[in-house]
Amino acid sequence: MPIPTLTQSIVITLVQCLLVVIFVFVVVPLTVFAERKVLGYLQQRLGSTRVASGHVGITGWMNRGMWKWGRIPVLSYWRGIPGLVADVLKLILKEDIIPAKADRFVFFIAPAISMVSAVVVFAAVSFVPGVFFTFPKWFPFVGGLPVSGGIADINVGLLWILGVASVGVYGIVLAGWASNSKYPLLGGLRSAAQMVSYEVPLAISLLAPVVLSASLNFGEMSARMAVGLPFWGLVPQILGFLIYLTCGFAETNRLPFDMPEAENELVAGFHTEYSGMKFGFFYLAEYINMTVVAALASGFFLGGPWLLPFGLQGLVNPFLPAFLSWFGEPHAIFFVVKIIFLLFTYIWVRGTIPRYRYDQVMSVAWKYLIPLALFNLLLAALVRCFA
């Protein structure tokens, strides 16, 4: 295997970054679309079927096109998809209002903090252990070089992930404060308390996989949790998984923990005063954060890029025909499928249960989740000691 020069490795890293960004910007709009459709079907309606109010112009063109395609039965489900394009167009074209009394610089920087901290987490997420793909020989400049499954598969990956993810709360708090308005301020205060509280059980629940796998590197952790244990990490760590998922819901401000933006109480919470693409950044950041939480959950607890749970992988492998042999190997596709399943869970929960009250949210974290997470950590340590 040729050793890449510095320039080559920079180019390869850029390619990886591009891939991750593409992944994020494909998954996020699809999640938004899925949210509309799945929520719609949960509630016995159709979800989005067209771009709102459009017979003329771009939206009209999209509507007519999709209506034509939608005559094909399978495609009829996707009639609403131009709505995503229209949404983005709307966000970009809308007037960007900054309230007169707002702190302009902080108001400007807050959505950027949210967005950046959400995306940067992916640096330490490894989609597949080892080589993701190799550039073909004829490829200019980087031909024949391997591209690894994570951008920076660093030894302190988990620390990086937790550290960067917790910066995201600044975006929300600063947005609430800089708007200089009452509802956003309340939203910002709520999120400060909530996200700081939930950071604790979240981190503790992730310590259990660290103990079990004796590593902080994302790729290694996910490999050892998936392969080293007799099952996926899910079975011995079912408690940890549930705690993590609950905290993940809270960290991403999704129902039942969507305190900072509780629509029916605080209008729109911290982003009440935001419009245009600044609001779009918050919106994007929320969905990217969901993806991040789903990626970590699937990496640590659902066996990451490995397909089969419960130690079945070894049993099945010999019987797989040659063309299906990649079922036996870890593959990024499986990782993505698990992420998508968890994203679906988010929507499912949103359609099912009501919202906690603010003080109840806090008591859930401090009274239940933290003791449970500590107990889970103790359990993991015992398993590690004696097994």
Binding site: Q43, L255, L266, R357
Partner: protein, 366 residues
Amino acid sequence: MFKNEEMEINLGPQHPSTHGVLRVKLRLDGETITHCRPMIGYLHRGVEKICENQTFFQGQVWTDRMDYCSAVANNLGWAEANEKLFGITVPRRAQYIRTMLNEFNRLASHLIWLATHALDIGAMTVFLYAFREREDILDMNEAFCGSRLTTTAFRIGGLREDLPPGFEKLVKKFLAKFPTCLEEYENLLSENRIWKKRTIGVAKLSAEDAIALGVTGPVLRAAGVPYDIRKAFPYAAYAEMDFEVPTKTEADTYARYLVRMEEMRQSARIIQQCMDGMPEGPVMAKIPKILKAEVNEVYHATEAPKGELGYYLVGEKGSGNPYRFHVRAPGFINLQSLPKMAEGGLIADIVAAIGTLDIVLGEIDR
């Protein structure tokens, strides 16, 4: 060094969960409400004064537009108050049909309450499930009188028309599926831990306070007072109906939820009885084309879905329109109890309190 300041905040008039244009002035200590005053009047149209300048027949149209979620109940109150004023006896068949439609309307109103209340607390799916059933009721309204929301369903002296052909089938179909629908809502809410946490012990209003504030309807019954005008002072055909008045003693939001859910069951029972015992005969009494009043006054109270709906009418000799008209709107009186319910609670509780009072601003502001 540190200042401790209370924050004053306006909940509304444009706010997703104030059910219209209610404005509530709040003073907050952190998230705790220390002071709460509802400000009303954003939807004031002067319905009472307008009705004083219209004939008795025309006034009915305005009652639709007070509590627009339960127009039929409003129509019933108006029609009966006028019948009392003029001493008209309504045919028995008309009474039965009125009772049935009124109960359908109670279902529709309670479904809206359930939908919006659940949405306020964050349970989004119940909202759409409840609207699905309400749609069927509105379809029945449409079949009966041509309009869905502002029905003007009844006339002074009876009904404009008999039930349309095929109406019975609609009712049967609805009654067959409605109990399962109720179960569906209850599966989503009744035993849901979050729903219970958000409603049990929230927005309490004791029986003494409720009576002192003049609160009526499910809010009063959830405090343990079994006061239902359908039983206490029967009107329409309620004297012949067999139904129970559900009460609870907890006097909190959850108790009100249970009371209203049980009321829906009882409404379905009443509808069934109306269908079974529907008498034959005319639906309209013989009344003159133009009603001229004597010097006379009536107060007629009916049990609207939200509480006691009273119409006070004063007639003037030889005049074709009321001399004075006043509405005792249940929502208006019930809203008085909002500060009592919300003060000391959290900001999320006031949303639950507004939801559980089941207010409609069209009726409060009139």
